[in-house]
């Protein structure tokens, strides 16, 4: 079982908005969708897409601001004809706090 780290209040991210969490391995985008769900995915798909937190959200998807690739926030998979996948991380809401899997941060730090 992985540990979770408090990264802020869920209200710190407006509905249909996104913010980033910086890690030494790179930025992770945290999405707060219209339906109230939260997702954590890599901010960049190197050479192909990103910064995804700057994209337009619709449903449980986001459109990359640079090249209009559409990613499913739950799976990280690019939709339609585009092929690629961004990493996804476990994130949950408890008592209004956003909890991100420590693997997303510590694991990546440990990988150094």
């Amino acid at each position: 079982m992985s540990d979770f780290i408090d990264i802020g209040a869920v209200s710190d991210i407006p509905v249909q908005g996104a913010r980033i969490v910086r890690t030494v391995q790179g930025d992770i985008a945290i999405f707060h969708t219209a339906s109230g769900n939260v997702y954590a995915v890599d901010e960049y798909l190197p050479g192909k897409a990103g910064p995804l937190s700057n994209g337009i959200q619709h449903g449980e998807k986001v459109t990359d601001p640079m090249y209009n690739w559409v990613f499913d926030l739950a799976t990280g998979e690019a939709q339609g004809a585009d092929e690629g996948c961004v990493g996804t991380y476990e994130v949950k809401v408890e008592n209004g706090r956003l909890l991100l899997s420590s693997d997303a941060i510590a694991g990546r730090v440990a990988a150094e």
Binding site: R22, A34, T63
Partner: protein
């Protein structure tokens, strides 16, 4: 030796005959043209658009004074013909002048029928026939009451035209439903409903009894049930009668009209007659199409060529301002007839076909007349429809199993299919015009005359263009916004306003969006449409904007941003330049670049630093240049009269004034301007969305230029005399574009769709509309002229956009 032709009456039929004659042989006749109206030939059908303000009189003139002069026509306008001495072959004018003729043409037209009610000769009781009548109606405005007697086409046009000016109009119709000669009861009902929605009062089954007056002027109409309808003007539009008085006086054979044979010759072999004054084979004529046929025949007869006038089955595609109607053939009920009816009350659509022995003999359509030509063809050709009976009512797209695209229906039409009913132009003639080089709608209109009268066939003409030119022609087809909806951009915009939709979820709910939250295509478009439609209301949704507009800077490929402060008219100061230099140093800006829009771009700024750099630039008095916006960008200028020996006006000053007034506005796409001080065009105004070229006599305003993916020279919209007018026109044009264009269409694309002529009508010709547009723009500006940088740098707006939620890099580094 040249013969003498005298024409009595400068109307549409005689005018067309004259055109044919001159085209065939300009030297065949010396022509003298009498007209009782003090003017030449104008397009009488278009009086209704003049009345409603969509057109001006000048625009509906068919033959100008120059045209008559160039073609050697002697004009005697405002002069009535008193008599004709057929024995001596002379025409005698009212002042006793005698004009000899070899051939005489009657084009005396028709007289409006005035019901001889008591009081019909009061001042303020008029018909709807000529420009004078139209002008009297145009003099009415808000606060005036007008009664129109007659619920036929003309009466309803008069009513709709005046209602558009805010006049309180009542239509009094003796029959049970409107336009009973062209429409059945159901379509008449829909029409009535549409008119009532426009604020017009409609009274059917109404018998007029007396016109009441006061001091010789009309005061009210009294109905026989005792109702009194007060009015300042009473318009009688109850029909026309061929004007045969002169013909009768001089002993020509006359029935309802002047009798003519198939060659348009009257009972006197040297006298021909055309138009509404004639009777041919028992019929008289009111629609323009047969009149033009007659004109063609008359010209040939005058040239001693063979020709024969044949009466055609007539369909009427009627246009009462804003309502689509079509009727053709026979739609009376009968035992041997069957009806197929289709109704869609929500869309206000009604279709009825009358069948007899498996053939369509009549059709009435209301609300959606797109397929009318196809049905008309079935009637004309007496096609056996038994095989397609089940789906017949849905139109050609549903025949033959697979739905056809709309182009296929037009492609399938034979070459002799008539496209333009007014001018009798067939598909083949339009194709010939296109193959002769007419590759735009305007060019086709000019060369073939198709669509140049009432304009109701322009959609079909456009489709013929599309088929003929193939890929060379971009069909102005109805595109949906995106795959989330079946609605077009235009539909969505109209519905947002009609249904007063003010949030994106509301739009998606009401307009039945097919996806839960839209997509990156429709969301920004909807957001713009809301922002444009509801200024002053909190409708803007940043999450539906592209990142550049959301964070008010341009994202670069490495995820950094560029910062461009506004420099009004491209003018800056040493202090501003110092502040820019200091900011560039302080925030380690890697690149400082002068832009094409006459300002300075700081490239490579980190997102977190944006509020701080904006704060510093704001301290020096600078604000956002909105170089990222689908909105007002820059106004480029040259130095004008301040420094340049060629400058004709203060182009820099005007540019600054315009930019001061217009900055901050959002629009469907970016909007760039320039003001150049002389035609040498140093500010490159001729490729801008709106460019102003200063000349000695004022300011030429050009629109629709482009210098991007497409390269297009801007076209002249209008020349004005003063700076104030130039600013007003610029604001009005921008507003027209803001309100009408599809999201992400630059002005040139939008103009290609709506036509420069239309834009001119709205902004250049119609001063009231220009003022109203400019006023709407200025109202909107009250809310959008807020510097977004100051909001974010000083008031903490959207601070979440610029700061990471959490930062673990520092923790990890420890």
């Amino acid at each position: 030796m040249t013969q003498k032709l005298v024409i009595i009456g400068a109307g549409m039929a005689s005018g067309r005959a004259l055109e044919h004659l001159i085209e065939a042989d300009p030297n065949a006749y010396d022509v003298t043209l009498f007209n009782a109206e003090p003017r030449g030939n104008y397009n009488r059908i278009m009086l209704s658009p003049v009345l409603s303000g969509e057109k001006t009189y000048d625009e509906i003139v068919t033959h100008t004074a120059e045209w008559y002069e160039e073609n050697g026509v002697t004009c005697r306008f405002g002069e009535k013909v008193a008599n004709v001495d057929r024995a001596r072959k002379v025409v005698i004018s009212e002042n006793g002048d005698e004009v000899p003729y070899d051939k005489l043409m009657f084009g005396t037209g028709s007289n409006p029928f005035i019901i001889p009610l008591p009081g019909h000769d009061l001042e303020g009781v008029i018909a709807y026939r000529d420009l004078e009548d139209t002008e009297q109606m145009m003099a009415m405005g808000e606060g005036n009451k007008v009664v129109v007697i007659g619920g036929g086409l003309l009466g309803l046009e008069a009513a709709a035209g005046m209602a558009a000016h805010g006049v309180d109009v009542t239509v009094v119709h003796i029959m049970g439903h409107l336009m009973e000669r062209q429409l059945d009861e159901a379509a008449g009902f829909l029409l009535r409903k549409a008119l009532v929605d426009k604020g017009i009062t409609v009274r059917c089954h109404a018998n007029s009894k007396e016109i009441l007056g006061e001091n010789g002027k009309v005061k009210a109409l009294l109905l026989d049930d005792g109702t009194e309808l007060p009015c300042d003007l009473l318009v009688m539009a109850v029909g026309i009668r061929p004007n045969v008085k002169l013909a009768q006086d001089i002993g020509l054979a006359v029935g309802k009209g002047i009798h003519v044979d198939d060659q348009m010759l009257t009972s006197d072999g040297d006298i021909i007659a055309v138009g509404e004054c004639v009777e041919h084979d028992g019929a008289i004529f009111g629609l323009v199409a047969p009149l033009y046929d007659q004109a063609k025949v008359a010209a040939k007869t005058l040239l001693a060529e063979e020709a024969k006038f044949v009466q055609r089955e007539l369909s009427t595609k009627l246009k009462v301002t804003g309502c689509d109607l079509f009727s053709a053939g026979d739609f009376a009920e009968g035992d041997d007839r069957e009806d197929i009816v289709f109704r869609d009350p929500a869309r206000g659509v009604y279709r009825r076909l009358v069948l007899k022995s498996d053939k369509v003999i009549g059709a009435v359509m209301y609300g959606d007349t797109a397929d009318s030509n196809w049905f008309y063809g079935l009637i004309k050709d007496a096609t056996d429809v038994s095989d397609m009976r089940d789906t017949l009512i849905f139109g050609p797209a549903y025949q033959g199993g697979t739905p056809m695209d709309p182009l296929a229906a037009v492609a399938a039409l034979p070459d002799d299919a008539e496209i333009c009913g007014c001018n009798g132009i067939s598909k083949g003639q339009i194709i010939a015009a296109i193959n002769g080089g007419a590759d735009t709608l305007d060019a086709v209109k000019a060369t073939s005359k198709a669509g140049s009268s009432c304009g109701s066939c322009l959609g079909l003409v456009t489709q013929v263009l599309g088929i003929t030119l193939g890929d060379d022609f971009k069909m102005p087809e109805k595109e949906t916004v995106c795959k989330c909806t079946d609605l077009s951009h235009d539909d969505v915009r109209k519905l947002i306003i009609a249904k007063e939709l003010k949030t994106i979820p509301h739009v998606m709910q009401e307009l039945e969006w097919k996806s839960p939250g839209g997509c990156h295509v429709c969301r920004p478009a909807l957001n713009y449409y809301l922002v444009c439609a509801w200024p002053g209301e909190e409708v803007d949704d940043g999450k539906s904007r592209f990142i550049n507009e959301r964070v008010h800077a341009n994202i670069q490929k490495d995820g950094t941003y560029s910062v461009v402060p506004r420099m009004l008219g491209g003018v800056t100061t040493p202090d501003e330049l110092r502040a820019i230099a200091d900011a560039a140093d302080k925030y380690n800006v890697p690149t400082v670049k002068v832009t094409g829009g006459q300002r300075i771009d700081l490239l490579g700024v980190k997102k977190e630093d944006l509020p701080a750099i904006w704060y510093d630039l704001g301290e020096a008095g600078m604000m956002s240049g909105q170089a990222y916006a689908k909105g007002l960008r820059t106004v480029k200028t040259c130095v004008g009269t301040d420094h340049c020996r060629f400058g004709t006006q203060d182009s820099t000053g005007l540019g600054i004034k315009i930019e001061s007034e217009m900055w901050g506005a959002w629009s469907p796409h970016k909007f760039k301007l320039a003001v150049t001080g002389c035609p040498r065009n140093c500010a490159e105004a001729t490729c801008k969305d709106l460019g102003i070229v200063c000349v000695d006599s004022g300011y030429q305003i050009l629109v629709g230029g482009a210098a991007g993916l497409d390269l297009l020279e801007a076209q002249l919209l209008i020349q004005v005399a003063t700076e104030e007018e130039a600013i007003e026109v610029a604001c009005a044009f921008y507003q027209l574009y803001r309100e009408g264009a599809q999201y992400l269409h630059r002005p040139y694309k939008w103009i290609a769709k709506v036509g420069l002529d239309w834009v001119k009508e709205q902004v250049a010709d119609d001063l009231e509309n220009r003022a109203a547009l400019a006023a709407r723009f200025r109202y909107s500006q009250k809310f959008y002229q807020v510097d977004p940088w100051a909001e974010r740098a000083r008031k903490g707006v959207d601070s979440h956009e610029f700061k990471p939620l959490a930062d673990f890099t520092k923790v990890a580094a420890e």
